[in-house]
Symmetry: C2
Subunit: 339 residues, 2 copies
């Protein structure tokens, strides 16, 4: 069988080339009994738990960057969206839109990464789709992943955040801004002495560790596009409570802070791909923090602030320089194609 | 609030513009209680049925064509993939990748169409994602829809096709080639006197009608990319049975046949977006055919051939001109970006 070094339009035709690509690349890497059914849809076992369902398209530029590639993001992003609702992520779909001429070797790398990440996270890629568009009609490759998780009734309260109240602590599992600045550095080919690495990671095992035996984790969200600032501002918008966080408690790596200053970005709004914000009842906050710190993805976790009775609907920041300011929702585009 | 006439990069930032776009366009049109939860993932009720899960990305060019638009396809394509497994389609996700500068009015039309089609099909759009890429980095708009359906145990046999045997009849619900040729005519701005209209439609209600009280529908597949020919050739590949279909029983509309001849296409391989191929036990074939014909989307249904004991693994065609030929799997690209 002929080996192609680049993606051809025919790979998206639904005919023999598509068939070969699916068999030789996707099915062999993503291999599992459900995918092997090869139906128009994947058949999954029923569950008495509630179902959580999410989708995300990834258009990151460049597709390969320090710390990961678009396939890494596509698995982690969707796994994390499921995990922050308190669900156990189980099944993913993968939809590829590929530009004609895209190197087969890069596609193989991406698919390999997706397979590895899915394996580590304990999820199965069970259904997929491939489209190829003419050269110049998309930029290299876009990937959509949708995901299904199962949510047991005793964790049902997490996704809505309905139990949040003043005094609850705000925890994040580590440094902010790494992913966004890794992409910016890679994109602009900046000569930075210290390489910045994306924090891209599946957080479901870390979150399981924190949730295990804990009943006071009241809300979680991953701080991706729009960064920590957007999560905080959305968290209190229209709510009968506010929040106050302390900038001195945020970990921002020196190389990330340096590049942010150079390019004029505020790390608070720079995308992360391996950071979860948790709202935890006061009594359990220290216990949750200790558990997070035991996991490699949470070793730099910290309590960064708390939910307040005062200034409802607003997120306030105690700044590094000693002042106070409101964390606004970002209005325009800070970093396009960051994920 | 400022009304934008075109999509800006900021609409994909995850900040305020994204928020406004979601509220004003997506949430208002797709409105339902599950979507209104606004979580990272949608929370769906559990079910004792098996779950079916599918994904499809749509990159059709042009995005608006006679008989529909990309939004129409995005809903129908995924609903149909679920329905042909015997499942009841229930929930969809919608992931948009939009080119900077895309007209807001066209996006509104597309979203409106998706909302209408979903309503008619009885499915809810419960979760979504929006990315915007710089001008020239994608072609207008790409949409991914993933879908969840529920499959009761008594229909479990349909998706795998394991009960197919010689003597079973092959049924299709109407004419072939309409969608593909509608796109070609629209794309090339051909001056064709009789306008060709896409057959794009959600088939789940038609399929329900056929399945209701019937136990001998053994397999279904929608004949999209690659057309009827690809479905037939895949149906028997590697199987201990073959099939024989009769070209005189295929309905090909005159304008579709004319354009196919002009452009050198074989209607057998041209995409449909509202056609399902059913394999039905001999005893029930006439009953299923009558039921299909009572539905507007099945009025031109016909039995086009049968599963054979002879020539296992091969699909044979009795041609219009009186010969016989093998229906091969299409090897390259016939029509790029048809869906």
């Amino acid at each position: 069988m002929k080996k192609h070094h680049n993606i051809l339009l025919g790979h998206g035709s639904g005919g023999k080339l598509t068939h070969d690509l699916i068999e030789q690349l996707f099915a062999s890497r993503f291999s599992n009994p459900i995918l092997a059914q090869h139906g128009d849809s994947a058949l999954l076992p029923s569950s008495t738990d509630m179902i959580t369902f999410t989708t995300d398209s990834f258009v990151v530029d460049p597709v390969v960057f320090p710390g990961g590639n678009i396939g890494h993001l596509a698995v982690a992003g969707t796994v994390n969206d499921l995990a922050v609702s308190g669900a156990t992520p189980r099944y993913l779909s993968a939809g590829f839109i590929i530009e004609e001429g895209f190197p087969m070797a890069t596609l193989e790398l991406i698919v390999e990464t997706m397979a590895n990440e899915a394996r580590k996270a304990g999820v199965l890629i069970v259904t997929g789709d491939t489209k190829v568009v003419d050269k110049g009609k998309c930029d290299k490759i876009f990937i959509n992943t949708s995901g299904i998780g199962f949510l047991s009734a005793d964790r049902n309260h997490i996704s809505g955040g309905g139990r949040i109240q003043p005094g609850d602590k705000i925890i994040i599992n580590g440094s902010i801004g790494d992913h966004g600045m890794a992409i910016m550095a890679a994109r602009n080919d900046l000569k930075i002495s210290t390489e910045i690495t994306s924090d891209c990671a599946c957080l479901n095992h870390l979150i399981e560790t924190a949730l295990d035996g804990c009943s006071e984790i009241k809300f979680m969200r991953d701080a991706t596009r729009g960064g920590l600032g957007t999560v905080l501002s959305e968290l209190v918008a229209g709510k009968p409570y506010g929040l106050l966080v302390d900038e001195t408690r945020f970990l921002v790596r020196n190389n990330v802070r340096g590049l942010c200053e150079m390019l004029g970005f505020d790390p608070l709004y720079v995308a992360n791909e391996g950071k979860v914000v948790m709202i935890v009842g006061e009594r359990e906050a220290d216990a949750v923090l200790s558990r997070l710190k035991e996991h490699p993805l949470g070793e730099n976790a910290s309590i960064i602030g708390e939910i307040t009775q005062s200034h409802p609907g607003m997120a306030w920041l105690d700044t590094l320089v000693g002042g106070k300011r409101i964390i606004e929702m970002l209005s325009g585009e800070q970093l396009p194609r960051i994920c």
